[in-house]
Assembly symmetry: none
Homo-oligomer: 198 residues x 2
């Protein structure tokens, strides 16, 4: 068995890189009746490279892609994003490491909402080992947290206030002050947390 060649990114199916970037560039260019030469002039990217990109035979660098976007008078995002396609459902699987926001011995946090997609709300799952705690510095003014306990015994602190929650209890508190979530029980604790920025 020949040993596996070094996995290079180029080997990734071209379509996966950025769906139809080539087609998109070609479209924008012909919309404007530009030749490769014209686009090359406007972008500073060589005709040959542009040709390859349009035929999906290249894996352009960020810099080159950015220049092309600028030549069309748009941002990278605008160039890359397929306009108007918002798939209805997005799923985050339990074991998807990409969403393990943070993990250490005492505390594991999973992101349940695509971060930064929803700007002012975040949804987390937090697992705390006995004695474990999640302490946070104040967030922006007006930020509140909503929390519900699925398993274990949890103590919540916000400012000087403190409260203890059992399985099934929920709470909301100010998060624009120092606050903390602590596992006050003997077993593992599991809570869901919604953070709302104002």
């Amino acid at each position: 068995m020949p040993r596996k060649a070094a996995a290079r990114v180029k080997d990734v199916p071209a379509e996966a890189i950025s769906r139809h970037l080539g087609a998109r560039v070609k479209q924008l260019r012909s919309d404007r009746n530009w030749s490769l030469e014209a686009l090359a002039g406007a972008s500073g990217v060589s005709r040959s490279m542009l040709s390859e990109i349009e035929r999906e035979q290249a894996n352009p660098t960020l810099a080159v892609t950015l220049r092309i976007a600028q030549a069309f008078g748009m941002s990278l995002s605008e160039l890359i994003e397929t306009p108007g396609v918002t798939s209805s459902i997005t799923v985050i699987r339990h074991h998807d490491r990409a969403f393990h926001y943070r993990s250490d011995d005492h505390c594991r946090i999973r992101t349940l909402s695509p971060l930064n997609l929803e700007k002012d709300v975040e949804f987390y799952e937090v697992e705390l080992q006995p004695g474990g705690a999640l302490r946070s510095a104040p967030h922006f003014e007006g930020t509140r947290e909503f929390l519900t306990v699925v398993k274990g015994l949890v103590k919540v602190e916000s400012n000087e206030d403190t409260d203890t929650l059992h399985h099934g209890d929920s709470t909301t508190y100010r998060a624009d002050v120092p606050h903390a979530i602590l596992n006050a029980g003997k077993g593992e604790a599991l809570v869901f947390l919604v953070v709302i920025y104002r």
Copy 2:
């Protein structure tokens, strides 16, 4: 003196490529307490490349940048774009009937956020018996729901899309179209639901 090399894109000032992409990656990574090794594992991009990118010494290809974005659970655009009271605590006890939003044989809904206090976000716990379903007419334009399955086997429908979720899986979907949450398993199902109105 060697003759002037052909002007390559790499020669462009690094900052211009994508403002502080390196810093951004580094930030996201340390936010999550990930080592380069961990990020390499999650993204499929080598440590060394990641190191170079963070130090702004590389001009990554689109493919690599995309993989990094995916490892962080965000889109390319999201990665590239620059981001940026009296008693503190209110508790809702598990058995407090006042917050049983709705109860019937098949479906029990508890409100975990004081309703109409936070106007554009609501937080629910939904319990579905086998065969039970929660069907909703479209909410306001732009409304999305975030859902995570704590127990059971759940099917989600939004528009024509459908997906099945096991324990620990999460999803987000459009709620401004007809949508439904169904218990597709043999036992009781428990999910947490966040609704965001736009």
